[in-house]
Amino acid sequence: MRSSPGVRPAAVTARGWGWRHAGRPRPAVSGLDLDIQPGERVLLLGPSGAGKSTLLHALAGVLGDGAAGASGAAGDAEDADETGSLLIDGAPPRAQRGRAGLVQQDPETQVVLSRLGDDVAFGAENLAVPAAEIWPRVREALDDVGLGRLPLDHPTSALSGGQKQRLALAGILAMRPGLLLLDEPTANLDPAGVLEVRDAVGRCLDKTGATLVVVEHRVGVWKDLVDRIVVLQPGSATDSAGLNSAVLIDGPPDRVLAEARDMLIGAGVWVPGYVPATRTRRPARDAGQLLLAAEGLAVSRERPRRAGLRDGFRTIAPRPVQAGVSVQVRTGEALTITGPNGAGKSTLALTLAGLLRPVAGTVSAAPALSGGASGHARGRSAGHSPGHIGGGAGTDPYRWKAQQLIARIGTVFQEPEHQFVTGRVLDELMFGPRHLGYGEDRVDELLERLRLTELVDANPYTLSGGEKRRLSVATVLAAHPQVLVLDEPTFGQDANTWAELASFLSELLDAGTAVVSVTHDAEFSAVLGGTELRLRPRETAAAAPGPELELPEGASP
């Protein structure tokens, strides 16, 4: 393997560096003193709010709302404020475009252009690399990240999450940066995608010798690749005293993990070899009562289409991503849906939850679920379900009115923000119960149980990732559903939130709620127990009734 010419590993120097975001009272980082030697590989850890992403963005030269030199000249609380110095090779990052390359968390917004090769070339073009030199760089970068077999005009929208992250890495590599910055690059990926990305990063570092700074709370993934771990503490903890350093611990991985193990576990870091303690489930005495049954189900996110004039405007059913699924959901039992990316796990779960119309087959609610009276629902309002005596509903969840649905089947989406409907945490929790005419007693219980009491007046959009997840679970449960459907509930969560969530769900299960979860997380499914429904990839599973229909790639995660 020939080494890339022109890659000069970068050095990072921080002296008393701090950053306060515009409009925030406290700095995200303050008093940071840090030296990173050229070629060093650093894993950056710390509790949420320790300013890890802020530091990476600063090194990438993208902080400061696009206005260069917005370093608090006005001293206004509305403006961002920078203190001390942060330098790459002795110069400010903003002055050296392309010296550092950043890969962020969300695969979808890492892609700029619609063809593979163009996207990789984009950064090199911006750095005014001569055109003749760009395409060799593009091919080399794609080879390095393991995407070399795809044609250069391959559509980027057809890539999986792991492939998109590797594409982003290739786009960075084509710029030949001396410093690689990775901001939780694998948080949204399945286990196979995580390894793909990690291995690609390792290969590229071995080849170029570039400096690496990676932020990630799953230490096990990166431990063997890095040679130093730096633990930061929140800027708010350092500025009051003015003496504490922002760096809490700094050293080789094994030493840091040995010395600071308990502290890291306390901060929610995923320390290798440690599975957070969770509540164990009570052994089930007898089989649960049937709530939902799917028979010969075929699912797709596409809606049926009308054929053209030549085909007489008949309805064309979309090609299902998964077909022939028969499964039952019972009280107090967990059902885990697993399988590779693109197998239609989320699509199946959303269809079971009455949110998508089945392409073929049926989802039917048993009387225990569709009927008005249930174990723990009280005072179901008749006012919102006209035409249904006693609040009873039909057997097809997709045809239920929204309020009939949420009182029976609750769905927690992968992205909590998609479900926020108000501007205040308390209103968010009250929303379901108020519309259903329920009492508000369960809301207090949920606030307490999911540690949201302190946050009742906050805006949901401003919460941290873990808080958003806890809130989204609480809001759905506030409507007393008998079936709870969760889509990748543990993605990107720290160990503390993970343990809370798993314990809480096992309690719900023991209390008789049915829990259906889509997950890649084997430890999480182990805590919940129950049955696993393993889906095969779509190539082998999907029947093809629609003859000329093309489905957009990547329609489902």
């Binding site: 696009g66 700029v112 911006n126 929208s157 998508l356 649905l405 409507a479």
Partner: protein, 267 residues
């Protein structure tokens, strides 16, 4: 949806022409057709355009699939002109308040043909032009500011993502008990809420994408182009073709005496 504009699999001749040349040729034809309402110039242009379909990798079926709204609109326009225009010549159909006469039928057909002849080049252009290549040509050949052109191109990708997010947010809100049923006011409110959710997500995506682009050095003064947008002999033919169709249409109409400048029309 997201791949609707993709050209994968289309290797027709016109896909290799410079987008700017194609754009200019289309503009020429459209300009001439916009000048006159008559059926001769429109049908001559239309005939030539239909002959060009294979060069753009289009078949009649594909054309209908991509352009049916335009084709229906042209037909409707022609129909309403035929029944509503003042009668001239012998009356063919008379149904009381509306009637079709030889004159109004001719006007209607002219109107429909003209609509088709103007719409078809646009469908042709989009069928054989990749948006990325169009952006390259606009920035490199037409010298539009590259920040603007590439920013727009990247934003177009987000439109596809937003279509998926709209569906997801709709389901996510139903799962919170916000139904899209009820009286029109309730439905309006639900749509408003869903739009707000989409707006928030769109802003999130846009700012993340902006960081991605900035982190890849976007926005500097100097820039090179990995895909140089160049002109070839083919582009001369494309321009000549456009000019030829425009000239043939105008000449045929002048020769047949139907040339009828829009701004000089009088009853």
């Amino acid at each position: 949806m997201r791949d609707a504009l993709s050209l994968r699999g289309n290797h027709a001749l016109l896909t290799r022409a410079n987008p700017l040349a194609k754009f200019t040729a289309v503009t020429l034809i459209t300009l001439v057709l916009a000048l006159s309402i008559d059926w001769v110039s429109a049908s001559v242009a239309l005939a030539f355009e239909l002959l060009l379909l294979p060069l753009a990798g289009l078949t009649l079926a594909l054309l209908w699939q991509r352009g049916w709204p335009l084709i229906l609109a042209a037909a409707l326009g022609g129909w309403s002109t035929a029944i509503l225009a003042p009668d001239a010549g012998s009356v063919l159909v008379d149904a009381g308040i509306w009637s079709i006469s030889a004159g109004s039928l001719q006007l209607g057909i002219g109107f429909m043909l003209r609509g088709l002849a103007i719409a078809l080049p646009a469908v042709l252009l989009m069928s054989c032009t990749d948006p990325t290549d169009l952006a390259d040509a606009l920035a490199q050949n037409a010298k539009l500011p590259h920040r603007f052109v590439l920013g727009t191109l990247a934003a177009m990708r987000l439109v596809g993502i937003m279509a998926e997010q709209w569906q997801t947010i709709g389901m996510a809100r139903r799962a919170r008990g916000v139904g899209s049923s009820g009286n029109p006011y309730q439905r309006f409110r639900a749509t408003l809420g869903q739009s707000f959710g989409l707006l928030v997500q769109a802003i999130r995506s846009a700012s993340r994408l902006a960081v991605t682009m900035e982190a890849r050095g976007f926005g500097g003064a100097a820039r090179t182009w990995a895909r140089p947008s160049t002109f070839s002999g083919l582009d001369a033919w494309v321009l000549l073709g456009g000019l030829g169709i425009a000239a043939a249409a105008a000449a045929a109409a002048l020769g047949a005496g139907t040339w009828n400048l829009v701004f000089l029309t009088h009853q």
